[in-house]
């Protein structure tokens, strides 16, 4: 099990049929389409890139203001602005293909059909390693309840995407739920190959001078270090439920120590989100830190860390 500490540890991990060169991805919406960071860091050294959420047609996004800082966190209500899946495939994907890293297409829709259509459009494209389904969006035909809040709706949307693509499917769980385990189970039953968690917590902030919300959308998604304890707890819960699929931990990860906490609780890989804004090479630093930790502890492969939490 333990290898000589002078060896470079094995960082590769397996997410279903998808092999990642290392367990550190960048989270959707925090890394653009990847190319924006090409000058800031060597994209080839990333485990993967989850691109900004893609819909069938381009979306302009919400009116500003769209973000606000909060203690150790930030709120956003971007409104899922994106170039649309066709533009992504024709304009961005060819340039992304030049890099040796897994490109994961984060997708969303307002209806089950839209999810399936986006997945189908990606199926035909070259250079997408997996599809990540953002289920934190309101289902417009069901009164605006988020797909991810209801096990039946969630299973339906996952099934639809599953049918539309042969790519590995990752379902990205929303944390705004009473019990994440039945929802995680629904996603797995729907055919999800892996789960990523968590998306943002719903939050709000108000300007007391004008008595208006800091976000034009009133509420927004809370991300950053503030949410890390909640994210870690949910990864722990889902891992303990033993659903038999790989987990990708997300939420407030800024350092290798943060990432390792998720791995120990059962994640096979992690995504770095808001931290990219503060240090453009945060994901690389996290990855290097994990490697150093493994060397220091004499662990040969990062996969050996997953789920090794010692419960009292």
């Amino acid at each position: 099990m333990a290898s000589s500490s002078s060896n470079r540890p094995d960082l590769a991990v397996q997410i279903g049929s998808l092999r990642l060169k290392n367990p550190v991805l960048t989270a959707s919406g925090t890394f653009g389409y990847g190319l924006e960071f090409a000058e800031q860091l060597d994209l080839n050294r990333l485990g993967g890139i989850c691109v900004k959420g893609l819909s069938l047609n381009p979306r302009p996004g919400n009116q500003p203001p769209r973000i606000m800082e909060t203690p150790a966190g930030m709120l956003n209500a971007i409104g899922l602005q994106n170039v649309g899946v066709s533009c992504f495939v024709s304009e961005y994907l060819p340039r992304l293909r030049e890099y040796d890293t897994a490109v994961i297409a984060n997708i969303f829709g307002e209806t089950v059909e839209e999810y399936a259509a986006v997945a189908a459009a990606l199926e035909r494209a070259d250079g997408v390693a997996a599809v990540e389904i953002n289920v934190s969006c309101p289902n417009v035909s069901k009164g605006g309840i988020a797909f991810g809040n209801d096990p039946v709706m969630l299973k339906t949307v996952v099934q639809a995407v599953r049918k539309a693509t042969s790519l590995p499917v990752i379902t990205k769980m929303t944390p705004n739920v009473t019990d994440i385990v039945p929802l995680a189970r629904a996603a797995v039953e729907g055919g999800s190959d892996a789960l990523s968690l968590i998306n943002t917590l719903l939050g709000m902030s108000v300007d007391i001078e004008t008595r208006t919300p800091h976000l034009r959308n009133v509420v927004g998604g809370l991300s950053g270090p503030a949410i890390r304890p909640v994210a870690l707890r949910m990864v722990h819960q889902v891992y303990r439920a033993g659903l038999g699929v790989p987990l990708i931990g997300i939420g407030g990860i800024s350092t290798a120590e943060d990432a390792i906490q998720f791995l120990i609780c059962g994640a096979d890989a992690v995504q770095v989100g808001t931290a990219n804004y503060i240090e453009p090479d945060a994901a690389l630093k996290v990855c290097e830190g994990i490697s150093e930790f493994l060397v220091r502890q004499g662990i040969g492969s990062v996969a050996e860390l997953t789920g090794t939490l010692k419960l009292p």
Binding site: G32, Q40, P60, G61, R66, I67, P71, P280
Partner: protein, 292 residues
Amino acid sequence: MTGKTIMTSQFWIVRENRLLGGDCGRLLVETSAESASPPRPGQFYMVRLGHGADPLLRRPISVSGVRMGINKPGGSSMIRISFLYKVVGKGTAIMARLQPGEHVDCLGPIGQGFTVPDPSAPPRYRRPKLAVIVAGGIGVAPFPMLIEALKRREVPVRLYFGGRRSEDLIEMGTFISRGVETITATEDGSHGEQGFVTVPLVRDIPDLPAGKTVVYACGPNPMMTAVVEICREHDLPVEISLETRMGCGLGVCLGCVVPAAKPAPDGRAVYSRVCTEGPVFNGEEVDLGLFQ
């Protein structure tokens, strides 16, 4: 806007941090010229303040000045930039406490700066007879550097500088010693005319060299809206530097947007990122009405 600028995130060493009154200060930071590209007027840096997760995000701060030089002992070349800042919250309060010798992490230079008159610039910026600068309070921050560039190109500069009270009119000494003609206005009348600085601007504008005047503005939004309106009436080209909350400064969070003046063909809004397409925009490009 020539030459490729490389944006870097690195530690700069604080050389001086002087309080200027009116809750404002001037910070000088320095680093090796090999590691950092020189900024252009109107560009900014995302400055990391504090050491923990609160404040979390970097703060956008315009460059006020830049100087290249040689460090005596080693003979290595260095770059020194200055920031003018106003304490308005926790990030800028930390900025005011920085001590010489401390290190501060600045990511930049970022964004599209002002169009500096130049033979290769767009027609109206090729050979202006006068550059009018309109600044409101700490909105003056990018202008010392712009004024340097204008002076170097021998473009006469007139500064309209407004504030709430006289203490808001920082760096007046510098402007005067640089020979910048300066017209001031304060809301409380403690310096210059009482009221908004747009009042003397409107009064003077008919007398400015027609077709040969360019306008640059930075300040609170109502002022910017007024300036753009005035310039439109008098057919003067105006560039405005906008402030919005920024998540990343890298063009990826899409948090900093302003609505473009022209919607998409389908009537839906189009948004421009202030960090990437801005912070300096042509006054006609953006919809300031929608933008709070």
